[in-house]
Symmetry: C2
């Protein structure tokens, strides 16, 4: 399965913002991201997992230079929609493995996550598409993660 | 911004599985997805948002035909790692908008989420990459969502 991953990448210029306990009903995500869009803020990853007890958390990443602006916008919307609180965290990075048809190669995800675990790196967010698996981790772990993922997926194949 | 989205898609053959309250420490995601990989189960979306109080939920989707097999595997791992419980849900579908460089078109995500909200559709999971924004919603809402997203993004541009 090593052959299906064509590259590994890191983005060390991102910050994450989490809106905790967004009411889990239609229109909430729309309000948040329309407000960001109107302000011209480029959003990279958006992650939302299933809600619990009628609330869901929504996280997204932006360029670290836009973190304060994005946070201010989202705090306004959070008040309007009755979300609990907003936390901005610049101390992250995003590591990704990129390849074709990864969905058809079971084990690629497990291999990536195990590789990070072997470095003692905690995975904070996961987002995927057919061609990319991305993990948000602590910024300090980024270079180590990149090195080990490269060894695991690129050098071994 | 309508021009940046080249297609909209639906996948009505997926089920979602959520492992609730996974201990938020290195190695947990690795164990779960290695077990699925060893069983040859193809995983599509994987979503994990930031943890709270040392626990995080992990959700993923599989072909509906593999749901039971995947659920059984994950329940075993969940026991081993001390996760709280596993819930499998076949009553979903995944709708996506696909385009180039969507990150550089602020507002695309907000437009998609607002479009779904206007149909009264609740967004249950969100996962993104540069070329794709996917939402997991109730299966019954799928065709309506596809129609409206197509009107919004394809017919209007
Ligand atoms: C939480 C948020 O995604 C909500 N379910 C919505 O549809 O907007
Ligand atoms: C929750 C899970 O992702 C855990 N943080 C891990 O690194 O495996």
């Amino acid at each position: 399965e090593g052959a299906v991953v064509s590259s590994v990448a890191i983005d060390e210029n991102q910050a994450k913002i989490t809106i905790f306990n967004v009411p889990d009903k239609p229109g909430m995500a729309g309000k948040i991201f329309s407000a960001l869009g109107e302000a011209g803020i480029n959003v990279d990853v958006i992650v939302q997992n299933v809600g619990k007890e009628n609330f869901a958390d929504i996280s997204f990443t932006v360029n670290i230079n836009e973190m304060e602006k994005a946070k201010n916008i989202v705090e306004k919307v959070a008040k309007e929609i009755g979300a609990e609180r907003v936390v901005a965290d610049p101390d992250i990075c995003k590591v990704s493995i990129i390849g074709i048809g990864m969905m058809n190669h079971p084990g690629v995800a497990g291999k990536m996550f195990t590789c990070l675990a072997k470095c003692g790196i905690n995975i904070e967010m996961i987002s995927t598409s057919e061609i990319k698996i991305s993990c948000v981790i602590r910024k300090k772990d980024g270079q180590k993660a990149l090195l080990e993922l490269h060894k695991e997926f690129i050098e071994k194949s």
